[in-house]
């Protein structure tokens, strides 16, 4: 997943080049393009520069789109990302309350309720247990809300409320085994340490899935504060509300838990239809490039690329249709991992000048096909309908 051509861009093994040298005009670096870029204005945030003390070439400045600051709502730059992993600093954030400032040295996780031996874990105790790493996306239940007509209530996310990281932690089931989960337990309620103690019940079957993690590493370093430092739950494939951040308490219940984040919000409410809880989000894809509304050159083959994922099963196929034409199968780019989003690519013959409407459609191993339309629901959850990207060819 490293940027191709990194060495060609002037990387010199064994030699350390600091940020200062780069700012001074790329001293010691080969490649005129790189020098030019280094001399260009540097964003105030410092993004677009290589991490201090490393030699990787500057990459394009990735920025989040901030919808709200208190609490923080920020979308990932999904149209600019090129790899599978979302860098930690641009991982999307959907918080319900302010970010709690937790001291990892005093943080504890209490596992209690319908268990034989309630127990409290320190971070060191958690890290001493066997761990598991999983490259996994987390997607906000409201991702794609912007595409509902009429407008649904809530932040108008496009495709930017999803991100992918390598999460490392202890499978939740291992913790539940350690405390002796009751055979009768039906729900595990996870609670965060943010001001509102955001809490949601995870049904037993999903809590015991070996891929459901109590995670303390995000892409090989501590979780960012805004994404749950020091520990969060990662509930693969389910709407992000279940992946409780700043996790401090797990409570086993022998009767179904009735709660705000299970029954008042994060419920599909389509007038006249049964209410159902948001759980796994369905099979979905979108076109990252070319971007909607952009102009592409005529007379040249057009590379269409994007991402696909499914909360139900591994991605099996992605197809693209141009101007309502037949679906053409795109290439899935390796690796194709169960819980990561899958990169895909299709090269179209040079399109004719004019307006070009591109659509993508994903299919998973369970035979689920991304639908043309989805039912409208009050809060605009779970929108996995096929999207159209319109570009001008000239």
């Amino acid at each position: 997943m490293s940027a191709p051509g990194g060495d060609a861009a002037g990387r010199r093994p064994g030699r350390r080049i600091g940020r200062r040298a780069l700012l001074a005009g790329g001293i010691g670096l080969g490649g005129a393009g790189l020098v030019a870029r280094a001399a260009a204005p540097v964003p105030a945030s410092g993004q677009g520069q290589p991490p201090a003390g490393t030699e990787s070439a500057p990459t394009q400045a990735l920025q989040r789109r901030v919808y709200n600051t208190t609490p923080l709502l920020a979308g990932a730059p999904v149209n600019e990302l090129e790899g599978i992993i979302t860098p930690n600093r641009v991982h999307f954030v959907r918080n319900h309350f302010n970010v709690p400032q937790i001291d990892a040295a005093t943080w504890t996780l209490t596992v209690t309720g319908a268990v034989r031996t309630p127990r409290t874990f320190t971070l060191d105790e958690l890290k001493a247990l066997p761990s598991r790493s999983l490259i996994c996306y987390i997607e906000c239940s409201g991702n794609g809300r912007r595409f509902y007509r009429p407008q649904a209530s809530g932040t108008q996310w496009g495709n930017d409320a999803i991100s992918v990281a390598e999460w490392t932690g202890v499978p939740l089931r291992d913790l539940l085994d350690l405390v002796g989960l009751s055979e009768q337990a039906v729900d595990i309620v996870a609670e965060g340490a943010d001001a509102g103690r955001v809490y949601r019940a995870i049904p037993r079957v999903k809590a015991l899935d070996p891929d459901t993690l109590v995670a303390y590493l995000q892409n090989g370093e501590a979780l960012t504060r805004e994404n749950g430092y020091p520990v969060r739950l990662v509930v693969p494939g389910w709407g992000g509300i279940s992946s409780i951040k700043w996790l401090v308490r797990l409570e086993a219940h022998e009767t179904p838990f009735l709660g705000y984040y299970n029954h008042r919000t994060y419920v599909y409410e389509t007038p006249g239809l049964p209410k159902t809880p948001v759980q796994a989000l369905g099979v979905k894809s979108f076109i990252a490039r070319p971007a909607d509304g952009s102009t592409v050159p005529a007379g040249r083959p057009l590379v269409v690329q994007g991402y696909a994922w499914s909360g139900w099963a591994q991605i099996r196929r992605v197809e693209v249709s141009a101007n309502g034409g037949p679906w053409q199968e795109a290439q899935l780019l390796e690796p194709v991992l169960r819980w990561a989003w899958v990169r895909w690519r299709l090269e179209l013959p040079a399109p004719a000048a004019g307006t070009l409407a591109l659509r993508s459609r994903a299919t998973d191993a369970g035979g689920n096909v991304q639908p043309e339309t989805v039912a409208w629901n009050r809060y605009g959850y779970g929108n996995n309908a096929i999207q159209t990207v319109t570009v001008q060819v000239s």
């Binding site: 309350f97 103690r197 019940a201 029954h263 599909y268 007038p271 239809l273 759980q279 639908p371 779970g382």
Partner: protein
């Protein structure tokens, strides 16, 4: 008892009430006692004074969301309190997450009283009503209806859950 009677005799503006509540914050019992000046814990009357002292600042004197800081969620009307499935879910949310600037600072009794007051303001509990902890689970609200009701702003045409959509996924729990 004596001090309660004295307090009840005073007409306290909300700002003064807030100041007193703040001054007494160190003594948990005292705050509770103050909150019950107009009635026992869980009563609509006690809830009204907790609301005035703690909630009105943001949610507004008329519970319309027009407080001192701009728009906050309104607390009256079909799509607010009545949309909870029962009083327990409403109570739990208030107790854990409210008030927004000091979540978890209400006592159990204060949260219960505010719950009663909000139910009252939505026509779901009489003015002289009282809510007990044991009644929370069984106090069903319109939001308990398993079928989603009509909604302003929803599409006119009937909706169907299409195969392959997230909403069509198998539910494995609540």
């Amino acid at each position: 008892m004596k001090s309660r009677r004295i307090i009840r005799g005073l007409v306290l503006p909300a700002a003064l009430a807030t100041a007193i509540t703040g001054a007494m914050a160190g003594a948990r019992l005292a705050v509770g006692a103050f909150a019950t000046q107009d009635g026992p814990p869980g009563s609509v009357a006690a809830g009204a004074s907790v609301y005035a002292a703690t909630c009105a600042e943001c949610h507004g004197d008329r519970l319309d969301g027009a407080g001192r800081f701009g728009r906050f969620p309104p607390l009256v009307g079909r799509h607010t309190v009545p949309d909870y499935p029962n009083a327990r879910v409403l109570y739990e949310y208030i107790r854990r997450a409210m008030p927004y600037n000091r979540p978890g600072s209400l006592s159990d009794e204060e949260a219960l009283s505010v719950t009663a007051y909000l139910l009252n303001q939505n026509g779901l509990l009489p003015d002289d009503g009282t809510l007990a902890f044991e009644e929370l689970d069984g106090f069903a609200l319109p939001g308990a209806d398993p079928i989603a009701p009509p909604l302003p702003g929803a599409p006119e045409e009937p909706q169907t859950v299409t195969p392959g959509s997230s909403q069509a996924g198998p539910a494995s729990g609540p």
